[in-house]
Amino acid sequence: MFSRDTWREIFITLRKNKLRTFLSGFTVALGILIFITLFGMGNGLVNTFNDFFGDDATNVIYIFPGRTSIPYKGYKSNRNIEFENSDLTDIEETFPMFVEHISPRIFRTVTTTYKEESNDYTTIGVDWGQQFAEKTIIMQGRYINQRDVEGRTRNAVIGRLVEVDLFNGRNAIGKYIDIGGSVFKVVGVFQDDGGDNEERQIYIPYTTRQLIEKNTDEIGQIVVQFKPELGYTGAMAFEKNLRIFLKDKKFISPEDQNGFFIRNVADNLKQNQDFAGVLQMIVSIVAFGTIIAGIIGISNIMVYVVKERTKEIGIRKAIGATPKRVIGSILLESVFITTVSGFIGMLIGIGVLKWIGDRLKEDYFITSPYISTGVAIFATVILIFFGALAGYIPARRAARIKPIVALRNE
């Protein structure tokens, strides 16, 4: 069946029937090409998704103050909860096993001026650990450090776009700006993957912010970085214990959900990953739909090819071709075309994904699309297999037709 003569016969048949060969090859190649491109772009979408939520560190728990909704231990409901400096040290001392770093965040929107330029920006009172939680990238100068916090210095780190707005792109390092009536020295400029909003922020030491506001103890939010080795389960357990501890300390009823709020990035991340997984599944279903469409396409062509060749099959049978040889040659032809064009389609598809790279990142949220070689080859083999099956069924029927019937077919 696989002698050189058989192959030669097949090559001659393929070469002499170029349109037919091209059409069936094209269908298969296109099917695989679309499958790989679609599947790869799906992966690219998931990549973007992960990048998007990967902007902040994932081992972070944010605690926001709220307002109680249940009276408890003599306190009335609707009481404002505030965090203060002692909360930071208490948490750190209670959970030494979990906490890596803890820092406050005090948000204030303040008018900021440099010479004639003036604008409203969000200033955030932070300590030095905040840089890692937000994955802030320093472009020039430095971040708020421990000395700034302890010495309550008037140093500020401004976002890239603040520098653009106020300094017209000139270097801001060492210049003095007016933040809400107090003069600060710019010690650093940062950028952030989180977007324009985050690059229009100004970081100052939280102790300085407290000093300006009549030396209060109040802090806005608490940002707890836990040890990354805790993992998802550890993070969830930590969150639970933290909740109990804070409710106890602030005299909030265990049933009260509104005293304060906790955003656990690890939990969010897991939800996001689950969502990305669903996204990928949908894309996969669509892509496999394409493969099925390709299989139907090649089946149609094979049915047509066999019908078109009915007379030729009759002639061959009349001069001595056995049914086995008739089926064999048609099958080998279809497998050969699907294999060659399938792999061509696969290579082109992979090439297209390589070429796309990050070109669609800005407008279509597709980052470095890719397909694993295993999936690509699996899809190609599936298509080849069904192409062969699609060829076999009509070929078997054609081989059963009596030669006189086939010859009568004009």
């Binding site: 003569d5 030669r8 016969e9 001659i12 048949t13 002499k16 029937n17 007379k311 030729e312 009759g314 002639i315 061959r316 049978k317 009349a318 001069i319 001595g320 071709a321 056995t322 049914p323 086995k324 040889r325 081989a399 059963r400 009596k402 030669p403 006189i404 010859l407 004009e410």
Partner: protein, 234 residues
């Protein structure tokens, strides 16, 4: 060479059954050139198809060169056709994307003959039908007479016991018909057994024996004085 006894064949046409062959008894010796004649519907093509193992009789015996032909499966029939029989059709039935040489070589391909021998032998037979220099042309580049001569060469190449021709001149003008018949006569002169189905009197008279079929039975079977086709060919 060919021996058939009480051959019956009917076709199912919807609810009606069409009895085409109603008991044919018939013998052909080696080296004969027999014309089977009859109007359309007389069963002559059906008879030829059964002789050619392209169709199966309902009842009756068929012995080809001492070999009883019955209960053939498709594979066996294909092998017998390949070894024992050569076909020539009215519509030539050449494969249109293959050259004359490749068409002639096809029966040998199915016999498993190697390529070199196939080409040598096919070229030899193409030379015999006078088309050696046309061996690399496609059927579409040949005239009707040339196509039929290629078909004759293809039928001959496997050196079959019997050559079966179904209206082989039906698609040709009379001059070309005589040329092809001249070729058939020459092949017969070499001792080959040939059966020709035709409804043309002049073609039938170029054979050595005429069998008349009417309504599925043989009404006449006579030896005749052969008219040589060569006298009409310059």
């Amino acid at each position: 060479m060919i021996e058939i006894k009480d051959l019956h064949k009917s076709y199912q046409m919807g609810s009606n059954s069409l009895h085409v062959l109603k008991g044919i008894d018939f013998k052909v010796e080696a080296g004969e050139l027999v014309a089977i004649m009859g109007s359309s519907g007389s069963g002559k093509s059906t008879l030829l198809n059964i002789l050619g193992m392209l169709d199966v009789a309902d009842s009756g015996e068929y012995v080809l060169d001492g070999l009883p032909i019955k209960n053939l499966n498709e594979t066996k029939a294909a092998n017998y056709r390949n070894k024992f029989l050569g076909f020539i059709f009215q519509s030539f039935n050449l494969i249109n994307y293959k050259t004359a040489l490749e068409n002639v070589a096809l029966p040998l391909y199915y016999q498993g003959v190697n390529r070199k021998q196939r080409e040598e032998k096919s070229l030899e037979y193409l030379e015999q039908v006078g088309l050696k220099e046309w061996s690399h042309h496609l059927p579409s580049e040949l005239s009707g007479g040339q196509k039929q001569r290629v078909a004759v060469a293809r039928a001959m190449v496997a050196e079959p016991k019997v050559l079966l021709a179904d209206e082989l001149t039906g698609a040709l003008d009379s001059k070309t018909s005589y040329e092809v018949m001249d070729l058939i006569q020459k092949i017969n002169d070499q001792g080959n057994t040939i059966l020709v189905v035709t409804h043309e009197d002049d073609i039938a008279h170029m054979c050595k024996r005429i069998v008349h079929l009417k309504d599925g039975v043989i009404v006449e079977d006579k030896k005749i004085e052969q008219v040589r086709a060569s006298q009409y060919v310059q």
